[in-house]
């Protein structure tokens, strides 16, 4: 039922998607200090793919996603969330205590909250994309 888009939509989607994805990563990384964070960034990324989906349909989007099933993204997100719990154990600290490391050369603050936020990002992206793509696929079969 959802037809592939017009030329304007197609062209816009092709250029907007990478920008939106970069923006989502930007939001994800700045989230701890400025407005942003994993949840918002995940929604922006999902929006990017959805736009592409509207323009080019399910199979083209699947190609862009390169064999990555949204359901696997959900799992990966949960896994990241769980992994971020682990370092505190090794430091002998209570469950979920945040750990911070500074990576010297690029002066980047890595931390377990960041890993956790990446988990949120992936889980949100995977959940939304999973639902949208499942809905689109149903549409495809029932004209």
């Amino acid at each position: 039922m959802v037809k592939s888009g017009t030329i304007i939509l197609n062209t816009a989607a092709r250029f907007l998607m990478p920008l939106q994805l970069m923006f989502s990563v930007f939001l994800l990384l700045r989230g701890h200090d400025e407005p942003g964070g994993g949840f918002i960034a995940g929604l922006v990324a999902a929006g990017a793919f959805t736009l592409y989906l509207f323009a080019f349909g399910v199979s083209a989007t699947k190609e862009v996603l390169r064999m990555v099933d949204p359901r696997d993204l959900i799992g990966a997100g949960l896994l990241f969330g769980m992994i971020s719990v682990v370092p505190a154990w090794f430091m002998g600290q209570p469950f979920l205590t945040a750990q911070w490391w500074t990576i010297p050369v690029i002066d980047f603050k890595a931390s377990t909250p960041l890993i956790f936020d990446i988990g949120v990002y992936l889980a949100v992206l995977g959940s939304v994309m999973g639902m949208v793509m499942a809905l689109m696929e149903v549409d495809k079969d029932e004209p």
Partner: protein, 782 residues
């Protein structure tokens, strides 16, 4: 120690990879894990013997009092050694038994995970930690019983085992919470050390009932015993390990652990003695009905579990000595016998003992192992099982309550057990050869090491209990169970006494029963119509009842009409909110008209959006106007300087509109189905809800009960959490546990949506899922 247990789970998770790399040698490799832990436990033994209980602490969530603390004393040492040593034997054995099985990685995964859970269970010091490991053993047991998941019987048995043990687990949880409340501590060590007498506590009776329910279901005590024989659907290594040597003893472990604190009251003694003795006799009596060798062994395991419970009930020093001795003896010979049963099944292709015979000549080693282990089961000198049985009879004779009943039951059970032992040791190996589905050969070495070790262990411990350190080990364990120092010194000869005479008489009667076993079975078959009304029938009835009830309430409440769901939810909310606002608080209406012009415009837009959504006759129009509302809310967030909320609201609104639009295309044409009366009803419910929410917000605004924590968060988010965005810091740091939970909820919801859509999707392609029609018939209507 914590590391070792957690490593077990990591090892379990990596077993598919290990199987890919090491192929058939994986079992041997994995067997190193329990062997190493056994070695470590042995190295700790002298310390435990000389210094008493060892605590290994690891604070986990200190603010909730949850810590991953392990307690190593005589009892947990004995159990830990049983789990790891028998675990090593079973893993080596499984390598031979399941050789070439296509799903062996899944087997390793569940078995090693079980091993780690069971170790955690017997070593746990925290009540909650103990409970979590307890449930983990139930779940891994479920996976292992249902290992052959294409077999409907295996699935049914697995489900039955799970339901019975998890239902008990719920009771256990209640019991442990009550115990924690009554004692004021969540640490077993502290509870056992404290001077408070819980027996006098007002909560003693309810907490004991809950704990007993948990222990009795797990350890297959009458009337919950029926799940254990059905669990024999599992592969034999599993039966040998979980359903005779370790998991079913978890309930016994719990009772033994709490005996010093809770035991000795009239209730404890009576309930445990009577239930234990009844279980003991029921198990032994039902055993001789069966010709399936695994069922025979399963019922004789029930008999042993009953014996252990009975001994804990009796509670004298003698009974405690008997308890630890019998526990060790039973785990060894029953593990060996189960593995022998697996060898017989594996080599002959049948589990029916009457279909086997004369196997002694082709399987001499197996025959010797079976003979020794069965001697220990029947309690013949000089096997270790003899010592256990002597002590058990002696303890029953010395019981203070219901002594006559206990002695009679113990005596009858002994006779029946001897017959069972004879059936297992003699029937398959002597007499004329029978044709069997497979031509039997001697089992491979990997399948003989485990049972051989356990059988000869029974012999060695019987001949020289003091030399092999059994005395020291059992002294330490018995001390932990009785709560006071209790030296154990075992020997084969206690002189001619009543127990010995009972032993000899039961031996003769048991052997006679074995001789007439075939005709006795014929007689017993006539009882079949009565036996059908056992506890299992009760279980079936209950389960069917639950299914019928849920069908009825699903038809009533979850009929697939969206409007009904919303109506039910709103009415409930109205009742709850109305109750607390109107009856408990007085509604406040302190309106201050301090609003600016642009705010009024935003709110007016919102109101118009809502109004249009209700009266619109076009779905797309309604969706868009709901979207307008959402965007206006985002605008309000931004106006009140909450950019994060604003962005989130904006994005969520966008996604909602997209999802709604995708769904809209699939809906039937817009039409009016509601009558006017229904519309008035819906309208008034909606209006009431709106007014109530308004009142709620106004009232909540004026209530200032607690100091706000936002100042704390504002002040500390940068120095403590290295972040200036407080919203994000709350999400990923302050309240990360909540977020983690929400992530799982989100994932579950998404998977649910995908599954439901794919299910419908499958139906349209003609791959209909029979029986379970997609639950939604007409999900949305105009």
């Amino acid at each position: 120690m914590q590391f070792a247990v957690l490593m077990g789970f990591v090892l379990a998770a990596s077993s598919p990879l290990l199987n890919r790399w090491f192929g058939e040698r994986t079992s041997l490799l994995l067997a190193l894990f329990p062997a190493l832990i056994a070695g470590w436990l042995l190295s700790q033994a002298p310390l435990v013997f000389s210094e008493g209980p060892q605590l290994l602490e690891w604070e986990w969530v200190p603010s909730l009092g949850i810590s991953l603390t392990f307690l190593l004393d005589g009892l947990s040492l004995l159990f830990g050694l049983l789990i790891t040593v028998i675990g090593t034997c079973v893993l080596i054995y499984a390598g031979g038994y399941l050789k070439g099985h296509h799903d062996i990685a899944r087997f390793h995964l569940a078995l090693v995970a079980f091993m780690a859970s069971m170790l955690g269970l017997v070593l746990a010091d925290g009540l909650l930690t103990l409970f979590i490991f307890w449930e983990l053993t139930s779940i891994t047991s479920y996976l292992l019983i249902g290992f052959n998941h294409t077999d409907i019987e295996a699935r049914k048995s697995a489900r039955q085992g799970l339901f019975v043990t998890v239902a008990g687990g719920l009771a256990l949880m209640a019991g442990l919470v009550l115990l924690g409340v009554a004692s004021g501590s969540w640490s077993l060590y502290e509870i056992l050390q404290s001077d408070d007498d819980l027996r006098q506590h007002a909560l003693y009776t309810p907490l004991l009932i809950c704990l007993l329910l948990g222990a009795f279901t797990k350890s297959a005590q009458f009337p919950f015993h029926f799940w254990l024989p059905n669990a024999m659907a599992a592969p034999t290594p599993v039966s040998a390990y979980l359903h005779s040597a370790t998991m079913v003893k978890a309930g016994i472990y719990l009772l033994a652990r709490l005996q010093p604190e809770l035991g000795g009251t009239g209730m404890w003694v009576t309930v445990l003695s009577v239930v234990g003795a009844t279980t003991m006799l029921t198990g032994a009596f039902l055993a001789i009905h069966h010709t399936n060798i695994k069922k025979l062994l399963a019922y004789s395991t029930i008999m042993a579990l009953g014996t252990l419970t009975m001994l804990l009930g009796i509670g004298s020093d003698y009974a405690m000595t008997a308890f630890v001795t019998f526990l060790l003896a039973h785990s060894m010979y029953k593990g060996a016998l189960f593995m022998v049963a697996g060898i017989l099944d594996h080599e002959t292709g049948t589990k029916d003992v009457t279909a086997m015979g004369g196997l002694r000549s082709v399987m001499p080693v197996t025959a010797v192992i079976a003979f020794i282990a069965a001697l220990s089961l029947s309690g013949m000198p000089p096997l270790f099982g003899f010592i256990g049985k002597e002590l058990m009879l002696e303890a029953a004779l010395g019981a203070e309550r219901v002594q006559l009943l206990l002695v009679l039951f113990a005596f009858l059970a002994a006779i029946l057990t001897i017959a069972v032992a004879a059936v297992i040791a003699l029937r398959p190996f002597y007499g004329a050869r029978h044709e069997t589905p497979k031509t039997p050969h001697e089992a491979p070495l990997s399948m003989l090491i485990g049972p051989g070790l356990l059988a000869f262990g029974s012999l060695a411990l019987g001949l020289a209990p003091a030399m092999l350190g059994a005395d020291a080990m059992l002294t330490s364990a018995a001390t932990a169970v009785s709560g006071g120092a209790l030296p154990v010194s075992l020997s084969l000869w206690y002189g001619v006494n009543v127990a010995l005479i009972m032993s000899v008489v039961s031996l003769i009667l048991g052997f006679l029963l074995f001789k007439r076993w075939d005709s006795v079975r014929g007689q017993l078959a006539r009882l079949a119509p009565v036996m059908r009304y056992g506890p299992e029938a009760g279980y079936e009835g209950l389960m069917n009842g639950i299914v019928r009830f849920s069908e009825w309430q699903t038809r009533l409440l979850q009929n697939g009409y969206m409007r009904n769901y919303i109506l039910v939810m709103l009415v409930v909310l109205i009742a709850l909110i109305g109750n607390s606002i109107l009856l408990r608080h007085s509604p406040q209406l302190a309106l201050t008209l301090d609003v600016r012009f642009h705010e009024v415009i935003v709110v007016a837009t919102m109101a118009m959006g809502a109004l249009f959504a209700t009266i619109s006759r076009s779905r797309l129009g309604a969706v868009v106007s709901v979207g307008i509302m959402g965007f206006s809310i985002a605008l309000i967030f931004i106006l009140f300087s909450a950019p994060d909320l604003g962005i989130t609201q904006l994005l969520v609104e966008t996604m909602t509109v997209i999802l709604l639009v995708l769904v809209l295309f699939r809906l039937p044409r817009f039409s009016n189905l509601s009558t006017n009366l229904e519309r008035i009803r819906d309208g008034s419910v909606a209006a009431t809800m709106g007014v109530l929410i308004f009142l709620l917000i106004m009232t909540a605004w004026s209530i200032d009960q607690f100091e706000t924590i936002s100042t704390y968060m504002v002040e500390n988010s940068a120095p403590l959490a290295h972040g200036r965005n407080i919203v994000n810091v709350i999400l990923v740091d302050y309240r990360a546990l909540d977020t983690l939970g929400e992530m799982f909820v989100l994932a579950l919801a998404a998977i649910g949506v995908i599954a439901m859509l794919k299910l419908r999707h499958g139906e349209t392609e003609g791959k209909a899922v029979d029986g379970e029609k997609a639950s939604v018939k007409e999900p949305y209507d105009g």
